[in-house]
Amino acid sequence: MKADAGRLPGPVPPRRSQKEATRQRVVTSARELFDTHGYEGTTIREIARHAGISVGSVFTTFASKGEILSEVMQARLEPLYAEIDRVMPHLRGCTADRLRTMFAIHFEFEAKHVRLFMSHIAAAYDWTLPAAARPYGRTPRLQDAIRETLEKGQADGDVRLDIDLQEIIDLLMSAYAWTYRLVITREADAKLLITVMDRQIGLIAEGFAPKNA
């Protein structure tokens, strides 16, 4: 929300652009440190030093480390969404296969920074975070893409008409999120995550397939 309000038309006043530059530097510096030392292992002081700015400036821009994390994670979404938009028109095959491709894109994307992504999930339950932080949660664009795929499946006779699509979306989303536990329990890489998710999608697809399919 904050980012949208900041995007005003016309020349940017110098104060604002400086503040934006600080923001950018903090986010970039934090992303690098979170990636190498993990979220818990990184302090605001280190982020400041790495960004070459004072700790005070970090705190005038962000209320907490949690808020920086949510900003870092927010910033990652643009390239991910661009990738989905690029792939969507080229999806082929049955509904289950289309879904598999969409989730595979996500796993490959997040696996590059999987430690960071796990911190993001953990932070969703951390209540030392201020309300302003936006931890891991709903990803509306992914859900829209799934809905679109399922609706197409209904049109093709691949998906039952008498089914609550939101329920299927939620099941897929929870299967997706919980698959990441394999990173913790088995140090899974993207390939394993995708294999497991593919099987789960197959099982959910049995649930949404028309009765006589």
Binding site: E40, E167, T185
Partner: protein, 216 residues
């Protein structure tokens, strides 16, 4: 200082009346656990410190450390107790199920009912379970494993009774049922879903996840 689980104590302890010292120690443990449970529920896992817990229990941090190695040890002990109690309650609920679908629904609901009054503790548990260090230990506890096995047992039983087909992919399916059971907690924690709403949702989820196994 080695952590000794209550089970080990039960096995190793000689069969005579506990000494006064052992009793006092046991009481200290219980006091710490009660204080910790309250603070974790009020301030989350990250927010509660050993110092606060000691203060709430009316003792020194040294006394806390004499009984528990660290905060995560303390938290695991609480989760272990809860999960054992919950698994028993779920197993009991499942026996009243009319069929596998109903038994699973009763298991889900036993869990949501159990945590209805301790959602903040559940939230703390999720936080720890996604932690790089705390996660594997919490998920690997014998009580966590037994808890998950409950879902597998239901499906295995249903296959044996002929309710579900032989090719039911029991392992994957029970894992997904377990994940789905957990995945509804955020709705309860953050969106205040009622037990009725959770039940309606869970019923549909179970139906969808079992659909493929029914057709066989």
């Amino acid at each position: 200082m080695k952590h000794i689980s209550p089970n080990q104590v039960a096995v190793d302890a000689p069969a005579r009346a506990p000494t006064r010292r052992a009793l006092a120690k046991q009481q200290t443990r219980l006091k710490v656990l009660a204080a910790a449970r309250r603070l974790f529920s009020e301030q989350g896992y990250e927010g509660a410190t050993i110092r606060d817990i000691a203060a709430a229990a009316g003792m020194s941090t040294g006394a806390v450390f004499a009984n528990f190695t660290d905060k995560s040890d303390l938290f695991r002990e609480i989760m272990h107790d809860d999960m054992e109690a919950l698994t028993a309650a779920m197993r009991d609920a499942a026996t009243r199920g009319r069929n596998v679908e109903d038994a699973l629904l009763k298991i889900f609901m036993a869990g949501y009912t159990f945590y209805k009054t301790r959602l903040q503790l559940a939230r703390a548990a999720f936080s720890v379970s996604w932690d790089k260090d705390g996660g594997p230990t919490l998920r690997g506890m014998s009580s966590s494993v037994a808890f998950q096995d409950l879902f597998t047992e239901q499906l295995t039983g249903a296959v044996e009774r002929g309710e579900l087909s032989q090719e039911s992919e029991v392992k994957l399916r029970s894992q997904m049922l377990f994940d789905t059971y957990l995945s509804n907690f955020p709705q309860a924690i953050f969106e205040g879903w009622s037990l009725d709403a959770l039940q309606a949702r869970a019923r549909d989820q179970i139906r969808i996840l079992l659909a493929g196994a029914r057709r066989g």
